[in-house]
Symmetry: D2
């Protein structure tokens, strides 16, 4: 269930950036500090031509982006933010020719930072492809310089 | 200074994968557990249309890939490997319309794992855009099942 | 619900090491790839003498150790393992004079690696002090040298 | 080469906290965003009683603390700060009965965050025991609430 801020942010971030558009990702659900996104399989995302497995960097980009969307939906007021750092654990290769789903959650928002976790999977959430843990820096108008 | 294994691996990984080809990255130097790669600025890599800044996921993918190339150049025999986990610290946004360079180093190779560090920068190595720390899993033929 | 391997491992790791004994941690639950441990507040664990807040390194050690216990309880056969890498997110300072609990989970075991997540909290699991994500290297007898 | 702020901070953090005092760490050098610290071997730091190897949590605590000291020495004005997140890579077990050295560096300070890297070693810096990458949150007086 989305709020307006989340919608605006999400549209601005997932829908409107050249790189994510070029990946082909789309938002399925957003709201309350959580998001669910989907990335359809596509030939230009392949990292290993022998196996057809999607490049790890693509999954990382989707996890990063999806966590950002979760942060947007957790904020009470509109403000810019940026990924500060991110850890990705690659648990198994993605199966070729299948959609990739990413569930992301914003666990906490402080004055400066938002904490997030994400999980990428295909057939079942119980068999993740990759996990992410990351912090985002909030850029508030009231900060000093 | 490259060796043949490194060259083969590097060509297979940086040059031959659809995703990295689609990013536009190229290898400048490789050998002795180190690599230097370059990513020219391109419109489809943009993450923020207002500023033209390249998407963080692109930089992550280049860091991941470049560290893999460094691992390849550190191995004494040819074997497959995969990113196990990766941490990225985003230190500042990339400047639009400028090349991004990635220097990567394989610090140590054990029987199962290779340890790496990478740095992405533009004008100067002393003003990094992003840092990476990551481990790669080596897939040896002699491992049990 | 514990198994014998888990019990043996857990006793060997949480109960038998000088450092963890010196911290004062104890295992409350173990089994099925999960663990719950407790660290009572103690003066020698303090990191900030002005506030009485426990040192971050103490919480990290408990998260590391608890994830190791979860790995032990997930293994089907007894084998040594070691922390390969670990990320800790510090979400808020621990409240002085209160117990710290750590819940840890082993998400997946492959031939070489176990993936884990942990959470440290006090009054409520919904208000974590710190999160961890870490990989452990399994040291199998059949590996080459 | 130390400055007064660094000295004050360092004394407050390395010298004055119960936990670090209980570990036995000491500062050898500090200044210009860098620090070198030393941890003498001691029985109560042991993590594996069979081998006498120091517990990983001890090394993590030293890396965390040493990076904090490097941050203190990089700051132009005195202010409190706290570890936001930390990644540790364990490259090999520490050799028993030998000192552990930690070299830490603050790579960059922004308005809100300081970026750090550390390395723990014994006989030679070229054979690290562990690496760290971590961010610290600066707590400025001018921040909003």
């Amino acid at each position: 269930m989305a709020n307006d801020i989340a919608d605006t942010f999400a549209a601005a971030r997932m829908g409107g950036t050249a790189f994510i558009v070029s990946l082909g990702g789309e938002i399925l659900e957003i709201g309350g500090g959580k998001s669910l996104t989907r990335l359809p399989y596509a030939a230009h995302l392949v990292g290993d031509p022998d196996t057809g497995v999607v490049h790890g960097g693509v999954i990382t980009a989707m996890l990063d982006q999806s966590c950002g969307i979760a942060v947007a939906s957790a904020l009470k007021e509109l403000m810019p933010f940026a990924t500060l750092d991110l850890r990705i654990d690659y648990m198994k290769p993605a199966t070729p020719h299948a959609d990739i789903f990413v569930e992301a959650e914003c666990l906490k928002v402080t004055h400066e930072v938002a904490f997030t976790r994400g999980i990428a999977y295909q057939a079942s959430r119980d068999e993740p492809i990759a996990l992410s843990t990351g912090t985002f820096m909030l850029i508030r108008a009231d900060r000093g310089t």
